[in-house]
């Protein structure tokens, strides 16, 4: 790899620059005032969280105490009412419209829309996240993404540069109903950095809360993303239609009311034909379609397909073939390493 051009006259520092206290690993960054968060671009430091994104692209530079070892990075991303409020004001500014006073402000209805975030580190794509805030979420929806950074990817400065942006080549079906400038307002609530004592497993982000450890990919937004494991091998994805639900299954209330009971309650209303195949499409970050086929349902009501190794984060749209037509349903999603 050719080295970057370096300007010999550079003098960026001042004698008032305070010392940076690098983050010891394992460590957690949870407040914007953290000294190890040494570069913040396209984002504001948040007083009680880590950061709020204010631009279409954001960068978070984190200084690590020991750059000699690889790390596992886990990010907690939030979309909440404040995110909606910031996004509203951003859009008003873009449109040149006046910003209303707080007492006159009425939030936009974003309950059918979602945000997508591509997470990079050291300039390479690492993960995707979807955030879909709904009216029954008590004002917040969270998603986590995890990825690994090898020791050879961190130079002796110990600086880890995490980028957040909108995935440029997301498929059209993922773009449908996405908020414009989707990053604006998103909260990076915390970043946890650990040694790689265990490899990062493949992960799923659906935009919605899960139910009992199972991510739920709701009929709206109608797709989910799969992030690769630390080993980078193929990932087996197992999806099973949730027979009933709609929004009722997905909010915090669903955790109080057992999902099986909720399923039973609504089963008559939202019956899913359990013997139908699923039409599955998998698209990578470059816009390449890696998979587009019908996946039959097994005897346990599951559809299983594989995301090839090395594909990186991918977008997945799975629709149930009902009456000959592919239809969006709610899926429970699980991943595990694929054999072979």
């Amino acid at each position: 790899m050719t080295a970057n051009f370096r300007l010999p006259s550079l003098q960026l520092g001042t004698s008032f620059d305070g010392p940076i206290l690098p983050l010891e690993v394992p460590g957690i960054l949870g407040k914007g005032s953290a000294s190890a968060l040494c570069i913040l671009d396209g984002a504001n430091r948040a007083p009680h969280r880590l950061s709020r994104l204010v631009r279409a692209v954001a960068l978070l530079g984190i200084k690590l105490a020991d750059p000699s070892a690889g790390v596992r990075i886990t990010m907690r991303l939030l979309a909440d009412d404040l995110a909606t409020s910031m996004w509203d004001r951003h859009m008003l500014r873009l449109r040149g419209e006046p910003i209303p006073e707080d007492e006159e402000y009425v939030p936009s209805d974003v309950s059918t829309r979602h945000r997508m975030v591509e997470v990079t580190a050291q300039g390479r794509s690492r993960a995707l996240a979807v955030l879909a805030l709904r009216n029954n979420d008590d004002g917040t929806v969270r998603q986590h993404v995890s990825f690994e950074l090898g020791a050879d990817e961190i130079d002796e400065s110990g600086l880890v540069m995490i980028g957040l942006e909108s995935p440029a080549k997301a498929p059209g079906w993922a773009r449908a109903n996405e908020l414009e400038d989707p990053l604006v307002g998103i909260c990076v609530a915390r970043i946890m950095i650990d040694p790689i004592d265990e490899r990062v497993p493949a992960g799923v982000s659906t935009g919605r809360p899960g139910v009992e450890q199972t991510p739920i990919a709701a009929a709206n937004p109608g797709f989910f993303v799969v992030n690769p494991s630390g080993e980078g091998g193929p990932t087996s994805v197992r999806i099973a239609a949730r027979g009933a639900g709609g929004e009722r299954l997905l909010g915090r209330r669903a955790k109080v009311k057992h999902p099986v009971r909720a399923t039973r309650d609504f089963y008559q209303d939202r019956r899913v034909e359990t013997s139908a195949p699923a039409v599955v499409e998998v698209v990578d970050l470059e816009g390449n379609t890696l998979l587009e086929r019908e996946v039959p349902e097994d005897e346990n009501g599951r559809h299983v397909f594989a995301v090839p190794g090395g594909a990186g984060p991918v977008f997945v749209r799975a629709r149930k073939l009902l009456g000959g037509q592919p239809r969006h349903v709610n899926w429970g999603v699980k991943t595990r390493p694929a054999s072979g």
Binding site: R6, S9, Q11, D41, G61, D155
Partner: protein
């Protein structure tokens, strides 16, 4: 639209305040421009004029107004009645609508209007302004009003020019009559460009009347043009450039050791966009520079270059476009106009792929360009992979700082900001600071191309283009601009207070509760006037080192 409830009570207080804080008027006059919708601008002009009336007895004559062009292109809430009210409170004997008068004169419908003993509505002789100066002001005003980089032979442009020319002739007549037929102490104007401002300035300087022009930023910042100090035949701002360079050398650079801590503090604050000047990117999170060294710059560079599509291994020359119709011809420039310089740069860059070229639009270009100048030029160069055209505001300051290895500008403030970070800048003409020794300055196209080639060759050879001394000079200029030449005064308050009720409350409190002795604005104006300095200064720089230290009160031992 803003609503002011404290303005009228403030005017009553101001009226009482100024009645006892200036000398009684005599026959002389001070001409004060009040053609901005922003009351902070008029407040500064009137305060400066009254500070002068403490040492030079005079009457205040205020000229104001806005025409249809200004109302459509620049202003959104111009309120002549507010301005008249403020002018009266500051002791003005008259505040007349110069734009309306000019319109009537052009139409032949002007009626008698006696201002400072001159009937401005009656027959007035032609101005004796040199034809070249008049044509230049007409041309620059037409470009600004048409929002174009240059005029073409189109019916629309020529009609606009004809209209501006007719109005300019009348502006020149009334300003010249006022100045010629009165004993004028000074002219105070927030701008020195365009027909409504510039023709008054031109008439004043030609008749040996000093011009003070406050800046729309900070506390009380103002430049001064003393006719005897201006070189003949040069653009209006050129003499200032020379004087600033001399002052900087004699007083700021000479006291650099004393200013070391202040300089660094200013730089540290400037990186976080605290304070001024930050009008193009004011107060936004993406305006701060977090980078501290080569390592973090390199990491951000990789990211930024990948996003934009530049080769991070090659130097990046960043070309900062100007507001293409802004104040044309008011200082020395290497190329015919701001637009031509930018076009020539794109042409040059197209055949120089040994480096990357990043062409940036001006953050407020729509206010100055209605011709899609930038987009059209960008469209001509879409094939060149090493050229990128981008909106400036689509890049954060971190990205720009990480990418830029050489700054090209005519007179932009980037030629101070980047050298202060050790990134060299080449100017295609003069600016306020271009003789302070931290940029390279070309005055002809030939010089410019030669210097540009040399700069590129040096970058590729890994040579240093800006020395540590130049970086120190750039930081000292940043300090001087934000601190040394900015006078904090309770009579104007900081610009960031805004122009709402809060401003008028603070001004009222200050006028009612603070005794005026040694008021910084008064002291600074007195000093400038007596010494014929080129700008207001916060302290007296002609004292010895100990005296300067006593005034600066630096952190450290006595």
């Amino acid at each position: 639209m803003r609503e002011l409830t404290d303005f009228t009570p403030f005017c009553e207080t101001a009226s009482a305040f100024w009645r006892v804080n200036v000398l009684p008027a005599n026959e002389r006059i001070i001409l004060v421009e009040a053609m901005s919708q922003d009351l902070r601008v008029t407040l500064r002009n009137l305060t400066l004029a009254n500070a002068l009336r403490r040492i030079e007895p005079a009457r205040l004559v205020v000229y104001s107004g806005a025409d249809e062009d200004w109302n459509q292109i620049v202003w959104t809430y111009f309120n002549l009645e507010e301005i008249r009210q403020m002018a009266a409170a500051y002791g003005a004997e008259v505040a007349f609508d110069a734009h309306e008068l000019v319109d009537h004169r052009v139409q032949g419908t002007a009626e008698e209007l006696v201002v400072a003993g001159v009937d401005l509505g009656g027959e007035l002789p032609d101005s004796k302004i040199p034809g070249e100066s008049f044509d230049q002001i007409v041309y620059a005003t037409t470009c600004r009003m048409a929002r174009v980089a240059r005029l073409e032979e189109t019916p629309v442009h020529q009609a606009k020019k004809k209209q501006v020319e007719a109005r300019s002739r009348e502006f020149a007549r009334i300003y010249e009559a006022l100045i010629e037929q009165n004993d004028v102490v000074a002219l105070v104007s927030s701008h020195v460009d365009y027909n409504n401002f510039g023709l008054a300035v031109e008439a004043a300087l030609r008749q040996d009347v000093p011009v003070l022009f406050p800046q729309s930023t900070g506390g009380l910042k103002a430049y001064a043009l003393f006719p005897e100090k201006l070189p003949a035949g040069m653009p209006v701002r050129a003499g200032l450039t020379d004087q600033i360079g001399e002052f900087f050398e004699d007083h700021i650079w000479a006291n650099r050791e004393l200013l070391e801590r202040s300089r660094e503090l200013t730089m540290w604050r400037a990186k976080a966009t605290l304070g001024r000047p930050a009008w193009w990117r004011a107060g936004k999170s993406y305006s701060s520079v977090d980078l501290r060294g080569t390592d973090d710059r390199s990491v951000v560079r990789t990211y930024a270059a990948r996003r934009i599509g530049l080769d991070a291994t090659k130097p990046v020359v960043t070309v900062f476009n100007h507001a293409v119709s802004d104040a044309l011809g008011t200082n020395v420039e290497a190329f015919a106009d701001l637009g031509e310089w930018f076009e020539k740069m794109a042409e040059f860059a197209a055949s120089h792929d040994e480096v990357n070229w990043l062409f940036l639009d001006h953050p407020h270009q729509p206010l100055y360009d209605a011709s899609d100048f930038f987009d059209r030029l960008a469209a001509d160069h879409t094939d060149s992979g090493h050229l990128k055209f981008m909106r400036s505001m689509d890049l954060s300051k971190n990205f720009l700082t990480a990418l830029t290895d050489l700054v090209l500008t005519v007179r932009g403030s980037v030629s101070n900001e980047y050298p202060a970070l050790g990134i060299p800048a080449l100017q295609s003409g003069w600016s306020e600071w271009s003789k302070c020794g931290f940029t390279d300055v070309a005055e002809t196209p030939e010089d410019y191309y030669r210097m540009l080639r040399e700069h590129i060759d040096s970058l590729l050879a890994g040579e240093v283009l800006i020395t540590p001394e130049q970086v120190e000079r750039a930081r000292l200029w940043a300090w001087f601009y934000r601190s040394g030449s900015d006078v904090p005064s309770g009579l104007v308050q900081q610009w960031q207070v805004g122009e709402g009720d809060e401003l008028f409350e603070l001004l009222t409190i200050n006028m009612l509760q603070t005794e005026v002795d040694a008021e910084p604005a008064f002291a600074a104006v007195r000093r400038l006037w007596r010494r014929r300095d080129p700008f207001l200064t916060r302290i007296d720089w002609r004292q010895d080192r100990e005296g300067i230290a006593d005034q600066l009160a630096p952190v450290g031992a006595l």
